[in-house]
């Protein structure tokens, strides 16, 4: 048996109130008010498809007893690097074995489901991870801005402890251009929704699904969880009817809570469906884009035992209300903000120097002294313990999964930060070690000496001059 063995999810904490978007834009397009229900997830300035992928995959790994990973595929149409394999950054941030197979899959909203099919049909020995992560930009005042969200989800494919057994899949490839984003564009260009519904969803999806169900000797009514990722609110139910699927089986795309997360949406919805499913439930997962992927899973009785640290429910619950549309525009470079002269300093990353400290910068690895047991970060040649000072005596010691406590802190309004004030401070790790580091996700008045922290892989700085961004770990108040 092959199938899904675990899942993990990540939704950025910040949830932008949609009425705030409508209020700012209804002067131009009053129809936005009709979409102004609930909220959508938005990446913090220091989040992107890589950082979200790290979070979701970490969550997925937390549910696996055997954490030996065979491969890591990253699906997204919003990868920060066009030529520097993004999945390798995710892999190194998670300290996965450097002999695993990594791959970036992109260029379609079907990227994640297609990658999933190839993993399910491949010869997977250990856990093969598929992470889908999306941080789509949309024009200010667009319907997309209202309907989309940012998120990531990861599933593990394997043969033991399967929680959702793979039954079969079908793919139709059709160059149906509901939208596209060209090489030189920052934003999607899309065609009329009604045409997309009638000529796209209603024609292409049934063709694939009916072939699949027929081959499996199943009927539409057998499907207990029907996942159709789309930002069209009513289309999934309408399509379910056409397919003979009970409308109760339609998995809600959470448009009013998160927004549709592009390539991540099918995987996030699959995780959500498994999380809610009972043993024996049939899941039909669709990926739509230049055709259609349709995948059938049967939930096993092992599913109930799969307990990622966060999961979809946990990710939904970990939220912070955001009402400042302006901030969202700034974070997404939709506004040319005066960020001050302190922001002008050169942000060049010296790649050879970066490479030397990659274990610290990406892996968040410090040292533990073999002689005296002192845990320390950064790891330098001599042990920091004044009673020891042993030379080259430290073993790798990973801090990414450690909890910590604020020793000292401040909210710095002088230094440049994309989201001032800049919070940072001295962090003391449970189990030893301390580091002066940046904080993220801090809410005013909710940090003090003694606040508990967890560690998160985030963007440290953008080098806009050279199109580079560097990452490091930051401390966030425990959610």
């Amino acid at each position: 048996m092959i199938g899904i063995t675990a899942y993990g999810a990540y939704i950025p904490r910040a949830r932008l109130n949609k009425q705030a978007i409508a209020d700012a834009n209804a002067w131009f397009d009053p129809s936005l008010n009709s979409l102004a229900k609930g909220e959508r997830s938005i990446c913090n300035w220091d989040e992107d498809s890589i950082t979200m992928a790290v979070e979701a995959t970490r969550d997925c790994l937390s549910a696996l007893s055997d954490k030996t990973v065979d491969s890591l595929y990253l699906a997204s149409t919003t990868l920060p690097f066009l030529d520097r394999q993004n999945s390798v950054v995710v892999s190194e941030a998670l300290n996965l074995d450097n002999r695993i197979r990594t791959m970036d899959i992109s260029a379609s909203q079907r990227a994640a489901t297609s990658a999933l099919i190839s993993l399910l049909q491949g010869n997977v020995s250990n856990n093969a991870l598929l992470v889908a992560s999306e941080h789509r930009r949309s024009k200010a005042g667009s319907r997309s801005e209202m309907l989309w969200g940012d998120a990531a989800a990861t599933v593990s494919v394997g043969c033991s402890d399967v929680i959702a057994q793979y039954l079969d899949s079908e793919t139709l490839t059709v160059d149906f251009i509901d939208h596209y984003r060209g090489e030189d564009s920052s934003f999607d260009y899309s065609w009329e929704e009604r045409w997309i519904r009638d000529e796209g969803f209603f024609k292409i999806v049934p063709a694939a699904v009916n072939m699949l169900l027929q081959r499996a000797s199943l009927k539409g009514s057998d499907v207990r969880h029907f996942i159709l990722p789309t930002d069209q609110p009513r289309t999934p139910a309408a399509l379910a009817k056409k397919l003979g699927i009970d409308t109760d089986a339609v998995v809600d795309n959470q448009i009013a809570a998160v927004g549709v997360a592009g390539v991540a949406q099918p995987i996030l919805m699959l995780a959500k469906a498994i999380e809610a499913a009972s043993a024996g439930d049939l899941i039909l997962l669709i990926g739509f884009g230049q055709g259609c992927d349709a995948i059938l899973f049967r939930v096993t009785d092992t599913a109930a035992k799969c307990a990622p640290a966060v999961g979809v429910k946990g990710a939904l619950a970990c939220r912070r209300e955001e009402h400042n549309y302006n901030r969202f525009l700034s974070f997404n470079n939709l506004l040319e903000r005066d960020i001050g002269k302190r922001a002008e300093s050169d942000k060049q990353t010296y790649l050879s120097g970066y490479n030397r400290r990659k274990d610290l910068l990406t892996g968040f690895i410090g040292g533990k002294c073999r002689e005296c047991g002192t845990v320390q970060i950064p790891r330098d040649k001599y042990c920091v313990n004044p009673e020891c000072h042993a030379l080259e005596s430290q073993d790798d010691y990973r801090f990414a999964d450690k909890t910590a406590t604020v020793a000292t802190w401040t909210a710095d309004r002088l230094t440049f930060d994309w989201n001032p004030p800049a919070y940072f401070g001295m962090v003391e790790f449970d189990g030893g070690g301390k580091l002066m580091m940046d904080f993220t996700e801090v809410e005013e008045g909710k940090i003090d000496t003694g606040t508990k922290l967890t560690m998160h892989f985030r963007i440290k700085q953008f080098d806009t001059q050279r199109g580079f961004r560097k990452y490091f770990w930051k401390a966030a108040p425990e959610s």
Partner: protein, 400 residues
Amino acid sequence: MASGIKDKVVILGMGCSKFGERWDSSPSDLMVEAFEECIADAGIERKQIEAAWFGAGIDTFNVGSSAMPLAIALRLNYIPVTKVENMCATGTEAFRGAVYAVASGACDIALALGVEKLKDTGYGGLPQRTRGVENDMYWPNLSAPGAFAQLATGYRAKHKLNKADLKRAMAHVSVKSHANGVKNPKAHLRREITEEQVLNAPYIAEPIGLFDCCGVSDGSACAIVTTPEIARSLGKDNLISVKALQLAVSNGIESSHESWDGSYLKTTRIAAQRAYDEAGVKNPKAEITMSEVHDCFSITELVTMEDLQLAEEGKAVTAVLDGTFDADGSNPCQIDGGLKCFGHPIGASGLRMIYENYLQFQGRAGARQLSDPQLGLNHNLGGFPHQNICSISIIGHYGQ
């Protein structure tokens, strides 16, 4: 066993430029201004200077690298000139170089000059600058107030103080220094402020507000040093000598080892004890009659009072509020206005502090003259509380 620096070297002359937003003055102009006063005070000719130490902190916004800017600005006679940079301890480092050279017998007369041009950046506060290729990759992008705000939270947590009490004591530190600065014609900020103003000012880095920060200024200060014998032979009496010169540099314990809790300056404690031992000071509170400390921020001065043993540990808030360090208190601190009113042209500050000692001991401090000061302590702290350099000099009457 080393015998230390006490009374081996005396100050022959000193000079100090007017500190402030010297829009029309280049670093060279500032150097010349300090030097002209200094050499006239020393009563020697330029050609008698045998070696020089030049302190400048931030190359990018100042004079550039190397010792040449000093040699060229002062037209020094192809003598050895050494450029030193050790963050905020830079001025004292230049002085240490010159003093050690004379003490070693390598030369008879040496010059120390520090300068900094901070106001050519186009914005307020210290210049934004790199902390080094590797550090920039993972250090927070911390400003100086952001770094020293950590000291306030660390100190407050350690001594279980409430925010308001600590903030009020911090305010008193600034109010006191401004009251002193009014009386100093060379200070940058010369107006009194009230506790209410300090408390109501906007935060720069919580809990550090605008008036908890020292000024940002251009300036230069300069000293010529020699041996007591040569000073006498040049007709000088009332000699002012160096009693101690100490430096302590963090080795990573504060930033990476659990033994430091963020509530005090480890380097200051170490350098202070060494300086007291070198100067033969047994009871700092009774013997140090004036101090010029590194009040980059009010909290730094407050905590430094404990680290220098001028206040009991955990009791600086009370000592400050009781007026111990006010002009009329038992241990006046920043009688010249401090960094608070002079600003902190990095290369110059340490020498500016010694200049105030020198004036006070000679009875030349005008409206702010203390009555019969005996020993003056000068303290600089470069870097951040968790990783820094502390320099301490003790100056006094020669032979006493």
